[in-house]
Amino acid sequence: MNLLKKVKYRTIYLSLGILLFLLIILSTRVGAVNISYDQIFDFFLDALGKKPNGEINPVIEGLFFQIRLPRTFMCFIVGAALSVSGALMQSLFRNPIVEPGLVGTSAGSALGASLMFVFGKSALFAGVAFLGDLMLPVSAFIGGLIATIIVYKFSSYFGKVNVATMILAGIAVNAMAAGGTGFLSYIARDPQARSITFWNLGTFSGADWKSVVIVSVSTAICFSLTLRYSKQLNALQLGETEAGYLGFNVERMKIQLILINTLMVSVATSMVGVISFVGLTVPHLLRLMKGSDNRYLIIGSGLLGAIVMIIADMLARVIIAPAEMPIGIITAFVGAPVFLFLLYKNRKSHGKGGFLA
């Protein structure tokens, strides 16, 4: 049941792109303070050194450029990163229910990040202090990589991934990482602790331009690398041996993809915390729309993931305004039912490989 079977890929990308652009503008407007289109237009005129049409409120202008805009871009990039990662991992594990939150990548990254958060300034890490602002993402990467490798090693043998083992190993690694993060939040001094706990459900409230740049660079690199693997990922759906017969070095490809994927997820996680279910849901929406070609899934996930995340963040800001809730609550409410739906669907196609592939 592909709803847009006849529609060209390019048309889908273009429509998603336009929708994304409109949402970016909308997202910078709404929040505790609403900003009008006229004001936004004036802010840009002012920033470009031209004379604005109306009166400029410097506080709102600052809010727009220093808080709203980086936050929207952060949602864009992180949504894209997590969704592309979901598409990639689902193809790599040959299973529709995989996502970075499930196999421990996110939780491992969060543990790595919070370790650096709490001890980063202590003598323990004096040796790596030269990394500066990159200390946090690097440490998140190491945490995420360890978690992913543990789950992958436990659940795959002879080129097949056993889903039951994978989910259980994922639970164990997630629990271990969450325990570690929890422990750190107890021994941390108070302001640190508060931000660690907030992290567990993800938040975009801390987004600034510096972190946007870091996440953008890592995501852009990973995204373009991932795109080069779309043929390999398609071939992998036949099985690892078969992908080898088609001329691909499967072992090398798996290692490279796990590294790319972990980099993408961990850098995003180190900035905004653990946001589950986006990476699971977005590729499935795309499959329902058109199909399972990995090139389409990767590009589509980049666009649709950004869209979904921006909408979720707007909801997080609006529902209990002027306060805001962690975005993870919203993605869980939407994503978990999708997860259950997939389990139900897979239960029916059990014999056809869907679930145990």
């Binding site: 689902q90 529709p96 036949l238 099985g239 001329g247 691909f248 199909g291 399972s292 869907g354």
Partner: protein, 264 residues
């Protein structure tokens, strides 16, 4: 030309294959047979270059098969296995196009599209092109995979450097499909493609093979110049069951039936 020179495959101090020497020629249909665990699939994987022999050497056009890159091998040989599980809704067209992956970089050329259309027609499944793989029956699915591997080795003329490996390709198919699949493979030997197949059904093998290689406990039992030399003594020994050669009403090829009492 594909040659195995004294090839052995040893894992955990156990020989799965021992001292195998064989030679395969273009345009020849060779079937590898033997009991379960005799080493048939291992031999096929060694010949296809996906597993490396622990002793001895396999040469393809007088060059060690290990010296070929994966992509070079992929342009020369294709392998059809027993069955495939695919977790996502992929269209038949996309699956068959995978056979052309070794031949194009990011977008298929016009030639690639023509080739997959030809193989789909050859397999009689052009009407399934837009269907999703998970909606197919077992027989249809295997036809799709056959179309894929044929697309991989398809060449307009001069096919003599192509090899088609079939690893128990028909074990899950009904009789009509079994014969159909091997008929298609046979057709390709006429265009000088080398076909090497692992099969379980002796009479099916006799119907299509130019030659049958029997394996027992990882060792070569015997090799014949022609399938007409195969007698009941050899097959009884290889399969460890009593069989009798009976007249074949359709051809002069040997035909074997199994004696029905196994002393149980």
């Amino acid at each position: 030309m594909l040659k195995a020179n004294n090839v052995s495959y040893c894992i955990d101090n156990r020989y799965l294959l021992k001292n195998i020497s064989l030679e395969f020629k273009p345009g020849e249909f060779t079937v590898i047979m033997g009991q379960n665990g005799a080493g048939k699939s291992t031999l096929l994987r060694l010949l296809a270059g996906s597993t490396k022999a622990t002793e001895g050497e396999i040469t393809l056009f007088d060059k060690d098969i290990k010296s070929y890159k994966e992509i070079e091998l992929a342009r020369m040989r294709a392998v059809l296995s027993q069955h495939y599980e695919i977790s996502f809704p992929v269209t038949i067209r996309d699956i068959v196009m995978m056979g052309r992956y070794p031949h194009f970089k990011s977008e298929p050329a016009k030639k690639d599209i023509e080739i997959i259309d030809k193989t789909l027609t050859l397999m009689g499944i052009e009407n399934l092109k837009e269907r999703s793989y998970d909606t197919l029956s077992g027989g249809e699915a295997q036809k799709v995979q056959m179309a894929r591997v044929l697309s991989q080795i398809w060449q307009h003329e001069n096919n003599n450097d192509k090899i088609l490996f079939l690893d128990e390709p028909v074990s899950q198919l009904d009789i009509q499909y079994q014969y159909f699949m091997l008929q298609v493979a046979k057709k390709f030997t006429k265009e000088n493609v080398m076909v090497i197949a692992v099969l379980h059904d002796l009479n099916l093998a006799l119907a299509y093979a130019d030659n049958i290689v029997f394996l027992k406990n990882g060792e070569l039992v015997s090799k014949f110049d022609s399938i007409y030399d195969i007698d009941k003594k050899i097959v009884n020994d290889v399969f460890n069951i009593e069989m009798e050669n009976i007249p074949n009403p359709f051809s002069d090829k040997p035909h074997f039936i199994v004696k029905n009492e196994m002393g149980l």
